[in-house]
Amino acid sequence: MIEAKKIFEAFQKHRDNAIVHVQGTSGYHWNDITTNPNRDINFDDAMGQSTSAVFGLALGLENEKIVHFDTEGALLMNLGVLASIAGKRPKNFVHFLLDNECYATTGGQPVPNAEYIDYAQMAAAAGYSSTYNFTNLEELTTSMEEIMNTEGPVFVAIKINPEIENLPMGLRENHHTRSILQTINDLRKELNIKS
């Protein structure tokens, strides 16, 4: 199990100009690490649909590297997206999966068959070009450059420590520094795309 914050630190060194989307409770660390927030986008929503939106972004911005930090709870709710992504083979798409084996945002209840699912194998079977599995930070850090330079779609499953939230929603800290629409508008401005 790896600390999510360490993963983002390792990724940041190889981010270059990539457009980044993060989700889940562990994703909040990215706000403290990113050095190019105008290239961070937030589709933060329920039922695993952010992954499909990031997939659409990758198809629409073929000349940009698009990186998505997914969670296993979200992926299980939209598992067909693996086939959708593999079917279009976006070369510019890197799909990380931060797997804490639970629904951290609802109190840490386990996801179905939490310990035994091999998500990287699922992605490989769906047709991703390359897949990786990590439980060790050093191995991940060593491989990060290769991951970012590999032709997509790339899938990287990483076991992480859960960061469970138990407070009622109304009492939780709002980790978002910008609204969804603000991140969309900032990215469009950065890329000179008319809305």
């Binding site: 649909q49 499909s52 939106a53 198809l59 067909g80």
Partner: protein, 171 residues
């Protein structure tokens, strides 16, 4: 008496898509749209994106819209009913123009249908406060462009219901 005087040809939809400037069609094919699917695949100006579940289609469309593209969702009403939360979170909440072309399974001009997919289609759209237009023959084609223009003006999804009761889109 002929209850449906003219058919809806797949070419009519394609012509409307071209007029609008559509760049991507996000779809799950069904038996009634097979010929349209093949026709779309032949067009070099159009990228067809098959997805695994209809709820994905609005989300992929959002990503494409952010990228400056003009996506259209092409699904059946059964899949639309299943996509309620995606329509809410990824289309309505984000406020972008989205044309959704929805096959109206079970639709009948007689007004009475044995198919509950049709029974709940319009109440569903009304519950989400999404405007819709019925297209059932070639002459109705311009409604597709009108629906798109409305979606641009309102920055909301607008639905075109394809009520081709007898012919399907298979010619």
């Amino acid at each position: 008496m002929n209850e449906q005087p003219a058919i809806l040809r797949p070419e009519t939809l394609l012509e409307e898509f071209k007029k609008i400037g559509v760049t991507h069609i996000i779809t799950i094919p069904d038996s009634e749209t097979n010929y349209l699917y093949e026709l779309m695949e032949e067009q070099d100006w159009l990228d067809v994106i098959p997805v695994s579940r209809e709820g994905e289609s609005m989300s992929v469309a959002l990503g494409l819209n952010v990228a400056g593209k003009i996506p259209v969702v092409l699904i059946q009403n059964t899949g639309m009913l299943e996509s309620g939360d995606s329509i809410r979170g990824m289309a309505l909440d984000t406020g972008f123009p989205l044309l959704m072309v929805v096959g109206y399974r079970g639709w009948t001009r007689k007004g009475k249908t044995p198919d509950s997919a049709a029974t709940y289609t319009e109440p569903f759209l009304n519950a989400f406060r999404i405007n819709y237009y019925l297209v059932e023959q070639n002459d109705d084609g311009p409604r597709i462009s009108e629906a798109y223009e409305e979606s641009v003006a309102t920055k909301k999804p607008v639905v075109v219901l394809i009520g081709d009761e007898y012919h399907g889109w298979n010619r």
